[in-house]
Every structure is written in structure tokens, then in C-alpha cells.
Symmetry: C2
Subunit: 247 residues, 2 copies
């Protein structure tokens, strides 16, 4: 275990940046950010987090953002490998946690193949941060003993998942990037057997100044009565009735 | 958003302590631990984390441990409420994340009822930390677009969940406290339709000095060929073949 040992020349740390508030960086992430030569970061990493990095470190933007030319996954990996081979101490900073809908697996696969030293520092995933900020417990003994994470994207595509089986087995669902397809998500869930009145919570920009929390039902969601801005975490299930806002 | 604002007199922070290595505390958790009057902690919180707390803070052990008299959930809540009412600044420190299999929901419900000010600081859950330490991505575009968390306990009881539906919808499963019932878990999964050769990873004491990682198959697990000590996170699914150990 060498989570926050100093990076060596030519080493890469794949680091979870958490949801945005610098207070949710881990101690290890902060210490690696402060003592590295290069920071390769995604669009989802907040400015406030980047501001804590070594001011002399080179910054490489590797975001994938709609509407502008963006780096391909393969380009990002190539950049990371070249910089490590030049002897730099590289922090690859990813929003949330690197291994939850973050394509971190593809990146360490390339690093391993290239013979680069690396480590992985987990981060607070948005699906964990958002309910905490909203005061919504993800598990409650009277409601659920399982918890499902998935992406909102699934609702808009020829989904690989069996939605009926999912709602049967999982009373609580957490959708990443759930805003854009909110009506489709709600529609799929109702078609799969959930009742119209099932509670829905939408947490936009969890931990940031522009954070917004909306609560409604699946019917509200598929009829477009719930406002949802990207990026948002969407929670579906009876645990939402257990919500106790911070006070 | 006041994650790491100083605690006020009579306020409670429900804080996730992460999996054990102090490097995985959040910056907010560390600052609240350093500046509080009372720390009420579970058995799963590591000594190393407790050592970072304010040395003058009173420590209250609220663990539930087998074989010795232990505090009931109701006692813990009563203690928390009395200490807050006496004007103390209370950190309620819970292993992992307070809202993922942590009964944090019951605690904030009691706090809200009692009119106590509180906030919730998410933590790195063991189910997120363990795969990072093992180099196992929880999601891979070619394997899964969903992710399931549940407890190992489910395999040993008259389970509320539909295991067949679960394995149909979720190619990757993460079991908390999965060691004790490993053969039962494997047996349930095979009965539900997973093939014997499905990969299994057992990560014991993730991030601690005694961390151990074992990899095998469901057949190895139900035939008792995989060693599993408590506490462990058990991961089941093809993502395990994408494992790249730190190097």
C-alpha cells in the first residue's frame, strides 16, 4: 500500500478527483497533485480542484466535451505514456472515481502494456456524493439490501440491460448523467413495472455552488415536469422518502 | 455547501472514514476530525484514522462487534443527541461511506427529529476502494453498463432479492462483507444462472497492511478453494479479467 508515497520519475497515478468540491479530494490525491510534474485532467474536474495542484506542473486537458474537437481515448493514453517515458511524474486526474464509468480500466491496461509504473487512487464518485449532499440514504434496512449504479445513457440506446429484471432485483437505482434522458429513463422504468408514484431525486452539480436538488415522481419525470440540468445524478426509489436535508 | 466549514457548538457531522488508510480520508473529514470535541466511531474505523483526530476530543466507541456487549443503534443515536445538546461539536465517524450499508439514514432521521444541526460527509466506500487497490475496473465498456452493490449477508438469509433477475441485469456484482458467506454466495449465483467459470476476486482489508487479494472462479468459491477472511469485498464478473495490478 503506497497510496500517497511520492511519485517516482516515470510513474503515473490515476487519481479520482471526486465530485468537485476540493473538500472531497482525498488526502492522497491532494498530496500527489501538489507534488507532480504533469496533470492530465478531464472536463469534469473542477477548477477549484485544479487550483490545488502544483502551480509549476504542466496541465494537459483531456476532456471529452460536446461541440469542440476533443481528445480520443487513445490519444489520452499515448500522451500519458509519452510523458511518463520522458521521466515526468504524471497525475491522471479523473472526475469522481476512475473505475466507475470512468474508463480507467482502459487506461491502466495501456499503461501495463507499455511497462509504465502506475497506481490507482479511488475517489468519491458522484453517485456517492450526491445522495450525501441531498441527505438521501442509498440504503435503508426497511427498503433495500442492494444498490444499482448505471448510466442515463442506457435509456436512450438499444440497451443491453434487462430493465424488467433490474427493477425486480433493485429497489434503488442511481443513474449517472441522468439529466439528458430523464423522460426516457422514467418511461423505461414504468414500462418495466415501477409505479408512477415512485419517488425520483435529481441532484445537479453535487457539492458545487450551482448544486440543485429536485424531488418528484416517475410520472413527473416522464411528463417533463422535473427540471434537470446536466450533469445530474438521478436517484429512483423509496429511500427518497427517508430524505433528511442538512440543517 | 459547507462541507468543511468549522463545526458549530451542538452540531453533528456524519463523516465517512473511508476503508482504513488515512490517505483515503477526505480533506473535509480530516479537518472536521481535527477540530471537534467528540468522536463517536465504529469498530470498522482504523486506529490510524482515529490517531489523526483532535487528541483532546472525547472518544466514544459505538462499534457493533461480535462476542462483546455492544451499543444498540438506538443507544448510539441517544448518545449523539445528548452530546450535541450539551453543546459539543460532534463527529460521528463511520467506516466507508455513511449512506452505503452504513445505517446513516437512521441516524440523520433521529437527528432531524431531535432538531439537531447536522451535515453528511461522504467517504470512500470499501466497494470503491477495494477494486482500485486490486487494479480491477468496476466498469468496462465491453462488459457492463451497470454495477450492483449488495451485502454478502443476503446469501445466507431468506433473501428479499430475486437472484435470477439480478444476474440477468447485472454482469458485475460487488458484495460487502462477502467473506463469511462466500460458498453460499457462489452457490446462489450458480443456481441463478452464472457459469462455474465466472471470475471472482476477494479483497481483504483493502488499503491496510494486511490487505490480501485472491482471484478464482465461482466453482473455486463454492467448493471452498478460495481463502476468505473478514472483512472482504467480493467482486464477481468478467471485469476481473481486465485486472492490471499496480506496478
Amino acid at each position: 500500500v503506497k497510496l500517497d508515497a511520492p511519485l517516482q520519475s516515470g510513474e503515473v497515478a490515476l487519481v479520482g478527483a471526486g465530485p468537485g468540491d476540493p473538500g472531497l479530494l482525498t488526502v492522497a490525491a491532494l498530496s500527489l497533485l501538489r507534488d507532480c510534474d504533469v496533470i492530465i485532467h478531464d472536463a469534469l474536474v473542477s477548477e477549484k480542484v485544479l487550483d490545488l495542484g502544483n502551480p509549476n506542473a504542466r496541465r494537459v486537458f483531456a476532456g471529452k466535451r460536446g461541440g469542440r474537437p476533443s481528445a480520443s481515448q487513445s490519444d489520452i493514453c499515448n500522451t500519458m505514456i509519452s510523458l511518463a517515458r520522458e521521466g515526468h511524474r504524471v497525475v491522471r486526474l479523473k472526475g469522481g472515481d476512475p473505475f466507475i464509468f470512468g474508463r480507467g480500466g482502459e487506461e491502466i491496461s495501456r499503461l501495463a502494456e507499455a511497462g509504465i509504473r502506475f497506481r490507482v487512487i479511488p475517489g468519491i464518485s458522484a453517485g456517492v456524493a450526491a445522495p450525501a449532499m441531498a441527505g438521501i440514504p442509498l440504503t435503508e434496512r426497511s427498503v433495500n439490501s442492494t444498490l444499482a449504479f448505471l448510466t442515463g445513457h442506457e435509456a436512450s440506446v438499444d440497451s443491453r440491460i434487462d430493465w424488467k429484471a433490474m427493477v425486480t432485483a433493485f429497489p434503488v437505482l442511481v443513474f449517472y448523467m441522468g439529466a439528458r434522458n430523464l423522460p426516457e429513463i422514467a418511461d423505461r422504468l414504468v414500462s418495466a413495472g415501477l409505479v408512477d408514484s415512485t419517488p425520483v431525486a435529481i441532484i445537479h452539480a453535487a457539492t458545487l455552488a450551482e448544486e440543485e436538488i429536485s424531488i418528484g415522481s416517475l410520472a413527473d419525470a416522464y411528463e417533463g415536469r422535473l427540471e434537470a440540468h446536466s450533469p445530474s445524478i438521478v436517484i429512483v426509489g423509496e429511500v427518497i422518502t427517508k430524505r433528511r436535508p442538512w440543517r
